[in-house]
């Protein structure tokens, strides 16, 4: 099966993630959409690594997974902090820096 198929799947996954990031209000769902985007990147890395027979792509995927863990930890902590002070996690209501 051509590598191209995996790239199509990766592209669709990334588009879905981007849609979630741009359109959703709930910051939690936005964080999940970012995870989707990272996974789309991972899939492309692994598909090319497999096509080239080179393991470096797998190592990079490992780094991306570690990065996603760090991002989730800090992002969720920030969400909890925002919820404590403002009682909402809706992104269009967190506008303190607008005025």
């Amino acid at each position: 099966m051509p590598t191209f198929n995996y790239l199509i799947l990766s592209f669709i996954l990334f588009l879905i993630g981007t849609t979630g990031v741009i359109l959703r209000r709930n910051a939690l769902i936005v964080l999940m959409s970012i995870e989707l985007q990272l996974n789309a990147g991972n899939l492309a890395f692994l598909a090319f690594a497999r096509a080239l027979g080179d393991q470096k792509g797998n190592v990079f995927t490992f780094f991306v997974i570690a990065l996603a863990a760090a991002e989730a930890a800090v992002g969720l902590a920030i969400l909890v902090g925002i919820f404590r002070t403002r009682q909402t996690v809706n992104l269009d209501e967190v506008t303190l820096m607008k005025r």
Binding site: F11, M32, E35, L36, N42, L46, F48, A51, Q55, V89
Partner: protein
């Protein structure tokens, strides 16, 4: 690919099933109202993706995907959903929609260009086109196993590996500090003050600075190790 329908192999069938699961799960994730359902759909997406990783010989990453993503990160999400669980009345936000429409158009154009380049290269008679068109050949021995990836990780990528461990440490400490409430900070300061008071009563001959270090007679920080 353009010479008629591709032959239906077992590999293709498995890929289509897993890809449908991945895309369906991702769509569920961004359209569900209840965040718990969204998290569960995301877990399903990650399992389907782990299946795809396993079919392209990335066994180690497939296991990591289930252990770290579906296990650890999603549990973290579930915890936070439980703290902040509120169903939304309005799912999508349309405030400042003009700015975001421009953003969508720009992002869409960049995606279109990227996809067009790949699509174009696919038909080219050069190595890139061959790579994109070509079926997956047998990988080298040990490809994608724990031993293979581990040896690459600890031989060629030792410094990035250490850097990522440092990043994780910083993220943990940063997460703790950011999510700490004002109440907890006040409590900690109150406790420190209390300890200083007890110290002052039981050993009045030792003067302490506000930060808890012992002071000499002039009120400066005492020399020596403390």
């Amino acid at each position: 690919m353009n010479d008629g329908a591709p032959p239906i192999t077992a590999e293709l069938v498995v890929f289509v099933i897993l890809a449908a699961g991945t895309i369906g799960g991702a769509l569920m994730t961004i359209t569900r109202r209840n965040p718990v359902t969204a998290v569960m759909s995301l877990v399903a997406t990650f399992f389907a993706l782990a299946g795809i990783y396993a079919t392209i010989n990335a066994h180690f990453v497939a296991i990591l995907q289930i252990l770290v993503y579906a296990g650890a990160i999603m549990v973290l999400f579930i915890f936070v959903v439980m703290i902040l669980n509120r169903d939304e009345v309005q799912l999508f936000s349309f405030k400042g929609i003009l700015t975001r429409v421009i953003g969508v158009v720009a992002a869409g154009y960049v995606s279109y260009l990227g996809a067009w380049v790949v699509w174009d290269q696919r038909a080219m008679p050069n190595p890139t086109g061959a790579l994109l068109r070509g079926g997956l050949t047998d990988p080298p021995v040990g490809y994608g196993t724990v031993a293979g990836v581990g040896s690459s990780l600890f031989r060629e990528f030792v410094f990035p590996f250490e850097a990522i461990s440092l990043l994780l440490l910083v993220a943990i400490v940063g997460g703790l500090i950011v999510s700490r409430s004002q109440h907890q900070t006040d409590m900690a300061e109150g406790r420190a003050r209390h300890i200083r008071d007890i110290q002052a009563q039981s050993h009045p001959e030792i003067k302490l600075l506000p930060d808890g270090r012992p002071a000499d007679d002039d009120g400066h920080a005492a020399a020596g190790h403390h």
